[in-house]
Symmetry: C2
Subunit: 349 residues, 2 copies
Amino acid sequence: MSIDAARPTINDVAERAGVSRTTVSNALNGKGTIGAETIERVKRVADELGYEPNAMARGLRQSKLGVISLLIRPLESLDTAMPEGVDYFLRFAGSAALAAMDHGYSLMLISDPTKPGAPPSSLAADGCLVEAPIRNDPALTLLDRKRIPFVAVGVDPARADAFPAIAQQTERDTRLALDHLLDAGARRVALVTGTDENSWNAHARRGYEQWAAEHGIEPMIRARDETSGVDGGRTVAHELLTGDAPPDGVYCLTGRHAAGFVAGARELGVGVPDDLLVVAGSDAVMNRTSTPTITALDLRPVETARLAVDALIRLLDGEPVDWSSLDPASELVVRDSTSRRNGDAAVTA
Amino acid sequence: MSIDAARPTINDVAERAGVSRTTVSNALNGKGTIGAETIERVKRVADELGYEPNAMARGLRQSKLGVISLLIRPLESLDTAMPEGVDYFLRFAGSAALAAMDHGYSLMLISDPTKPGAPPSSLAADGCLVEAPIRNDPALTLLDRKRIPFVAVGVDPARADAFPAIAQQTERDTRLALDHLLDAGARRVALVTGTDENSWNAHARRGYEQWAAEHGIEPMIRARDETSGVDGGRTVAHELLTGDAPPDGVYCLTGRHAAGFVAGARELGVGVPDDLLVVAGSDAVMNRTSTPTITALDLRPVETARLAVDALIRLLDGEPVDWSSLDPASELVVRDSTSRRNGDAAVTA
DNA sequence: GCTACTAGAAGAATCGATTCTTGTAAATCG
DNA sequence: CGATTTACAAGAATCGATTCTTCTAGTAGC
């Protein structure tokens, strides 16, 4: 329970070993030319004292802290702490942390650095990952202005090519989902998006509109707040299914909305998959274990996070990055909500 | 896409504004006595240049970075990236990040700092949270030696009172689960633990043994690697249910083992809850949405993380902490696997 | 025997801020 | 009108490392 007794510094080690700071630094880092005996002694003393170089001092000198930060935009709008179903972000963060560690970095979770009360440490990292930036995202503007290297995951819808980004193939993914609904027998397909102004919602909408036009389908689009969760899905189900021309297929971008839509349909006596086919745009655990299980697009958060971290670290090292090759390749996982087969089948993008 | 053009420092601002470093610092931080006009000018110049104080330099001077780190012990043994079902840790991490932000800190996810390749930044934080330390945990020893303030969540089973910790009431929780199984009609209750040597497994085992002795129940204990997941639960179900005196109730500490146990039982024609009652010691999303839904102990990761962060920050601020009052109060969420009622019912600890 | 080199280690500058001390005008006071 | 404040700002030390430069013996070369 001891917090007192300040941590030993390089000076303490130097003094106790009877050498200079320089010698301690060189001895411990294997640089310069130091006698074997001296190295031995310095190491022993350092160990005795429990000396550990101060990461800030070292970082200051080398202008490199060994930390990358992660800003998850959608979490800013979720006021409550981590409701169930935000699997995508949690798995993304976990995978990013592991990928960062592989490169000798730690991962720091930060809040919006443009907000007034933001911790100064939110800009201390060597580089930053921004998940799902919003339209004209002020965080991207800030990072750019401060010259902090960053990689966005998903583009800023208003500035698609302005910044380094892992551009998710949302339009292609959307077609994958919609085509699957068509193949499975749906003829009137609706779209339920979130309300955040990120590329995910924007591009899915655009993809849907084009697809609907191509197939001569009357567009039916509803938007529900991401935070509304399962309940938002339920209400939109009531709205659409009790209308004049109810859909027989629906593509809900978030897993929670999809789960809610299924629940809402059941309340109205609409059976899934018999009367209604449902696809979720993000694969959450609840989609895999619910009854019926729900067909979903696996956005591969684990792989995407790793790609993003790798790209950011190349950026930090001044190495070239081929942005066009960074395609996470989503996969549609077919489940009960669009078929009566048992077991999962995969349709790769 | 610009990374060049080094970030402006306080000296750049000072020069451009025609004042000294000191004045810039004071003007921006509202300290000292500076003329209103000068403050105005300095702020304008700082803004023009996109100046942001270097967090490392500031941290070095003030010996405080504004970062706390989180070491999740069980993740060290999980080699693959975040398998489904590790909800507890993900929610814990997410909640801790939000709680830290409330206090003006960022949360850094780190890997075992005692491992050779560990990033130096893993010891750069102002304080550290250690989730589920193992027996004689070397990370705790290291943190103690380096004099880095830390709070453990769960005790080191070999050194229960040696370090500041949020002591989870595992034995009490275990009784809660076991008593519930008894109430629901089970007479031969088995325990399935993990193999990590943390207080969770150790105390649950101890609690079970005492409880079994008190109730004259023959102890049946099996341990399965935490990493074995659903499959581990399935195999242990086969092992126990095909034995001489199969249990009619089982308490699986991890949610994945519980789910696997249910699946294994079904394969053997053993119905849940008709022939077998199942309780999980950790509430995962899959327990809520599976068929049947599984009764589980909600360990309240969100609340626990917040308590831990608050305690750590009090420690950092040199304020007293009443460790005995930090009780997350688990709750048993009763579901289909131990009853035929519909809906959830809660039994508070 | 004297220069040239090398090994080993010390000295000093540096990274970018904060903070303690000092200095210099103008304003106030008795 | 001389002595003190006061307001404002500059100067210098400091945080804890790394790194570039310099110094000093001892050894080798001729």
